[in-house]
Symmetry: D2
């Protein structure tokens, strides 16, 4: 496959300034593949890091964001036999250093050498997918079947992150009562995963009626609009006062952790997918005295992106419904605005570096 020496990419030049520049097409290292990017989705962390650089982020003028992408393998590093040119692939963001204690034990998304010693987080500490080509280490690449299109595949990290969350809490929810707080992309996917894994009931709590309706379309057995109903009362009623087996907090709201703690049953589990910027006030007495547990996830760990591809291909979860808008690379800023302002009911916005 012919690879041009130059490519178009969205380079972060200054706070909130993404410029479409022509830059050198990158070259894969020995254990890397070069991917022709077909779709790269906008994530809320993208909004944050273009506004104010994150730890380990390269300087203005030399950094291409974007960590949720998919594409086609076009070149292989010299040691790579896991892939071949032409493979359609999805990716994950985190490559651990593979030498710190966490990486050695399998927790590579929680690498203790963030940004150092071989660690890479494409779109965070190394160049990402808002470009026509990108380099990925083989550890971060997953083949996708023909039935999965590139737009959907660009959301694999979202699905992988939610699956990692479920695995972290035990991964077995057959017949369980699950509550999801916050109908953002991760919350909506969490509803889908809960049902795919055979939860008895997935209840979605939120404040926006339109998003809650999307949740219903995606399989929520019950939606609760906080403006209309008291979620805690509903959950206790539906569970004979026992509470939920698993509460997934994905809103990032400062009052949501307390709601999650209150809703979980004695010996129940709370999974945090959203992270409030402000300090949280919570009743640790009911948490402790009732033997409830708080789990968290960092990224799409334990190779769950591979599981995510399989789940997506099975048709049991629907990521396409979340993709409301797409833009060519040249209009990336409009894409960011659409996502940020939820213009036209935007949920996920995808950028196409090669047009279309």
């Amino acid at each position: 496959m012919k690879i041009p020496p130059k490519m178009k990419a969205a380079v972060l030049m200054a706070p909130n300034l993404l410029e479409i520049n022509e830059v050198d097409t990158p070259l894969p290292g020995p254990a890397d593949v070069l991917i022709r990017v077909e779709a790269c989705a906008v994530c809320s962390s993208d909004l944050s890091l273009i506004a104010k650089p994150w730890v380990g982020q390269p300087p203005y003028g030399s950094f291409i964001p974007g960590h949720e992408y998919s594409g086609t393998v076009v070149a292989l590093g010299e040691t790579v036999d896991e892939f071949k040119v032409g493979d359609r692939v999805a990716v994950e963001a985190h490559l651990g250093c593979m030498r710190c204690r966490n990486c050695r034990l399998g927790y590579y998304t929680a690498c203790l050498n963030y940004g150092k010693k071989g660690h890479r987080a494409n779109g965070f500490t190394t160049d990402g997918g808002f470009a026509q080509y990108v380099v990925n280490h083989v550890n971060t690449v997953y083949p996708i079947p023909d039935a999965v299109d590139f737009d959907e595949a660009s959301l694999i990290t979202n699905l992988g992150c939610v699956l990692y969350g479920f695995e972290t809490t035990g991964g077995y929810v057959v017949g369980d009562y699950v509550v999801v707080i916050g109908p953002g992309p991760l919350g909506l996917i969490a509803v889908e995963v809960a049902k795919a894994l055979c939860a008895k009931r997935a209840v979605l709590v939120g404040t926006r009626a339109s998003r809650l309706e999307v949740g219903k379309d995606l399989g929520a057995d019950r939606i609760i609009d906080i403006h209309q109903e008291d979620p805690l009362r509903v959950v206790l009623e539906e569970t004979r006062g026992m509470g939920a087996d698993l509460v997934i907090e994905s809103s990032g709201g400062v009052e949501s952790p307390q709601m999650a703690i209150a809703m979980a049953k004695r010996m129940g589990k709370i999974l945090l997918l959203g992270f409030p910027e402000e300090p949280v006030s919570a009743d640790f007495s009911i948490l402790g005295k009732n033997n409830k547990f708080i789990y968290t996830v960092r990224g799409e760990g334990w190779a769950n992106c591979g599981r995510a591809v399989s789940l997506l291909a099975s048709g049991k979860v629907n990521l396409r419904r979340l993709i409301t808008h797409s833009f060519p690379l040249e209009q990336i800023s409009e894409g960011f605005e659409t996502f940020k302002g939820r213009i036209g009911g935007a949920i996920k916005v995808v950028v196409h570096p090669h047009g279309g």
Copy 2:
């Protein structure tokens, strides 16, 4: 609801001699319910224990077998508020003593006081469901929704046992490669559960083409007839030589454990659902050196029958397909013969104590 003082029941009078007698309708104890039995399925352990008594089995003339049944609650013990008269219910066989070390830790199907100190196994050590009425402790009763009929519900222990097996091995198989050896009832259900829990591929291995076809109908992605193909070769080919993530051995064949050990990947898991009567010869060197693990289940533990009801009600597994024959109580011996001889392609045979 009017409960007659006498009822019809299949009493084991001598080896392989079930007689339909009129006996006293039993009375529920303080924490029991009385169930009007609508359906009771024949299990291979029934064949075994009517031929030769199991440990703890009551003497001939005073024992009603049958442990896979469903029905309607018709009377409540004095402390029971978990159920009400008229509830449609499924059951599980094991009530632990709830005072041995295993019961206290939640492993009540592995009770150390089998047949003693309050332990009951209906259809094994206490009267079972081949009768018009039966007494169950509340711990062993699960409500079923209207959408689940009694015949299907009588197979809940089978589904609960398979789910317990999955939970025991981790319970999280999204994207995994699962092999099931043996297309008996448990094996067929294991294929269904693997797919319901989002395994990437469920491969069914067996010797009988007709049963393998049933497995295909129920969701097996691939069937392997041992007479036609080498299962190990197929599995290694399909997994690039790695082997299966999980191998479930449910055939009880004496050569099957070795096949399971060989098929599991390095760090893979083997789950035993079938138990060969003869000593097994196996290569423990490849088991050990490749860090493979062997898991087992005893009954339908950890309250998985409750999960099973939810899964069945969701429509994601199909137990009805397994029920090939039904008989009124008077023809129970014909039912046993049909099941034993697989007459007419029999898979599961259900007995109806009230006719129908």
Copy 3:
């Protein structure tokens, strides 16, 4: 053994009013034993419940508190063969209903039928050990060897609770860096357990120099007086900036959870043994983004009191050092005052119902 029909007991007559009355000696039920109480320790929950009744507590005039006790079996219920008269025993407080979902799965300290359907918590919902005799269900009784004296044995629930906490977090800390916040009885025992289980380093954080010194005597590798040093800085220095593998919060202080969250390493664990009465303010962003987990314990679950007896008998933990004072039953109020006011450096205070 001759059992008198009447006994002396400390009956709660009104808020903070314990009266030594002569009452009927209780009779064991079918699965109970009658214990002659030799020692009963004062716990901070005793202070709380005599001041203001807890949920499920019997009315004034009919309730004997005390849940940390030991003694000798003097009579057996009709089904009991687990013990014999003359056995020296320790106890745990919680008897689950053994029929709710939590009890069935082994989480009997988190019983969903607290105070109902057979659930008992001696000293909380049923009579306890500040009396000459007490009745215990066999599930809550553990034999102690001769080498363990009754005073030490009365603290078994404390050790069982700490062990349950360790087991809940994984139970395997060989070579780990463990921090304990709060040098109360549970915190001091946590230091001992951490070392007994081969933690590399057990660091004790507190505000009172005298208690920290006790911690040092009991095996703490490092003590940190918050008035003198910044605990977070010390922990990061000692761990090359990584943080602790496990942080145990047992102070109940409102600022301690945040300290625990900050101290835990990425992928580290936080165990809550103390429960602040006031709402806690904490940074859930660093909790979540760093994949830290919060575990809790309710009581001395999973039969850990049995493990505790073994550990105590091995001599690897020292509970005697915590027992600073003892009083005969008649002076129980002085005992409570001594414990509450930490008079004379009191850590644990033990009451002897038969004098001595």
Copy 4:
């Protein structure tokens, strides 16, 4: 530190022919350290691989065996800041490829790319420690404190392997009844670890009285000479017929797995540390029906060598007692003979490449 360009090493020239040759001192790669070897122990796998090459083993004339060694860091690869020259260190054998599925999930000793793609097993697929210098990747190196001498430190992989086994089975044995079959080095260490982790009772089963006596010295609460007593009978007597919580099979005997299965309690665990070369005959019916589990270990995984160093330094285990003989490098063949023939009661034999 001055490093000579040439060094002495034991090169495998032909079956069972180790020759002391002068070869080039190796150079560390970017993430490696160069270690001056002070002690390298002989393992039974060394006997096997010098007799007949293992998979992935380099050809005769170009391979230095030895995987149990310790020494001093004398040079650093360019990216290494985890160590400094002069550090005293122990090592582990396995460096995973860190890109296969198992390595990514933390199971690097079960790497799926054995001998390929960066995987190294020093002393198996790459040069080992029967030499004056050796190269190790930083992942396989652990600092040791001054209190631990080099001879003891050379046995760290043995202790790490046993610890990995315990961790694999849950890692929490406080108060448990543990049986160890086989008083070889791993079995003796297993007894020590069981006691260090506070097992109530560690019972050692074997055939050689002298080795059993060593086990007693190292902490076994009970030794059983198979020639004198029936081990199963003893275990059942001591556990009131229940069986052992954990049985560790380290003899590699072909009849030992069946003994282990029989001895484990219902819901008990069996850990295989020894691997019979011949097929094993075992009763899978009692295994399955009693819900027993079989665990295995491959190498010293999950970074347990780091934990092992801490445990060794604490003085709670004694590896020195296992080291019965030492030889200079020149007498390595005598060392191998001594170990193989158990000459002079040999348990572990250590080789000193720099004399002494």
